[in-house]
Amino acid sequence: MGVLNDANLIRRFQRGDPEAIRALYRSYSRSVFTVAYGALGDRSLAEEAVQLTFTKAWRAAERFDTAKGIAPWLYTIARRVAVDLYRRERRHESSELDREIAVMPPSFEGMWEAWEVRGALDKLPDDERAIIETTHYRQLTMTEAAEELGIPVGTVKSRSHRAHRRLAESLSHLREETA
């Protein structure tokens, strides 16, 4: 989504346009969920984070800088929400000493990468995303993926190459951002 579209969407979101609320949610809720789930390791907490992120975004929408994109803005809110939820949960289960020395766990590293990868995955065509899921997440071989998806191995290979090329290209900016 380009900056201009972002600006239009956020203006309609600011006005409380129900379609804009839904459009923003559908564009970014999965990315918010992914970073929160990855960091907190709990599905219900991740859903709470999604709800809180969009509520905070709603309240802060008038301060949104339309010259910048929605994604970095929402990511910043989502990360802060995840940190707050992590600290809230820790208060329930840790000692005073633990709290004093508490640092954010490794699961909070790479959150921006997770956000960006999820965004790139969501932009892939369904058939290419299915290949990525079966071969990376489910760790199936090309042959197993072909059986699972009911398509020839050659098709799996060509789709896999297309999908990985697309991913590598759309995520090429990560090197500069994380360097």
Binding site: Q51, F54, G110
Partner: protein, 207 residues
């Protein structure tokens, strides 16, 4: 082998002599290895493949619609003008669409010194309260002012149900039930950048 092909193969864990040879001679691809490894790790994570429940979308959208629009007051005045024009134009259509009789129709008394008569008809819906205001004799709001409709609960919470700039038929919607937010009132707000209720009350059902 191009850089794009190498990176796609590396991401897919498809190595080989061609890939090794490309990597040995390509600074650009070597500089991306760490990042490609990080992407591969992300692709194996459960969080990458899970999604929030469908019910959550409805809950979030409904929740946001129930709360006051966050739009900045500095922008509100000109929007109020546009909205007022639109709601007056479309009020007739709104009433026609809303074919059934209103669930309630009450007077909206004017504050002392305000020479206006007003009433509001309402329809209770699962998503909130639809209202049509009939207002006569209310002075047009000044250049840096606008009228704002409020619904207030017995515990003092309030929600904005929109803005307008003068008399007429005004269609409005609030994402709350009138049972929970019984007081309906209108203030004349200065366009001073303050989001809160800052102006005098001009119409009020009372609590």
């Amino acid at each position: 082998m191009t850089c794009d092909d190498f990176q796609a193969q590396y991401l897919a864990r498809n190595g080989g002599a061609d890939a090794d040879a490309h990597l040995a001679g390509c600074n650009w691809c070597r500089s991306r290895i760490e990042e490609l490894d990080a992407i591969r790790l992300q692709l194996e994570a459960t969080a990458m493949w899970e999604a929030p429940s469908n019910e959550l979308e409805e809950a979030v959208v409904a929740s946001l619609r129930r709360t006051r629009s966050p739009i900045a007051p500095t922008n509100r005045a000109w929007i109020a003008t546009a909205v007022a024009a639109l709601v007056v134009v479309f009020a007739g259509a709104f009433v026609l669409v809303q074919s059934r009789q209103p669930d309630w129709d009450i007077a909206l008394p004017a504050s002392p010194g305000i020479g206006a008569t007003a009433s509001v008809a309402g329809w209770n819906t699962p998503a909130g309260t639809r209202m049509v205001f009939s207002i006569d004799g209310l002075e047009p709001a000044g250049e840096n002012e606008y009228y704002e409709i409020w619904l207030t609960a017995n515990d003092g919470r309030h929600v904005s149900a929109g803005t307008f700039t003068g008399s007429g038929k005004i269609a409005s919607f609030a994402g709350v039930s009138r049972r929970d937010f019984p007081r309906i009132w209108v203030t004349l707000e200065p366009n001073d950048g303050d989001e809160g209720i800052g102006g005098p009350t001009v119409l009020d059902t009372g609590s």
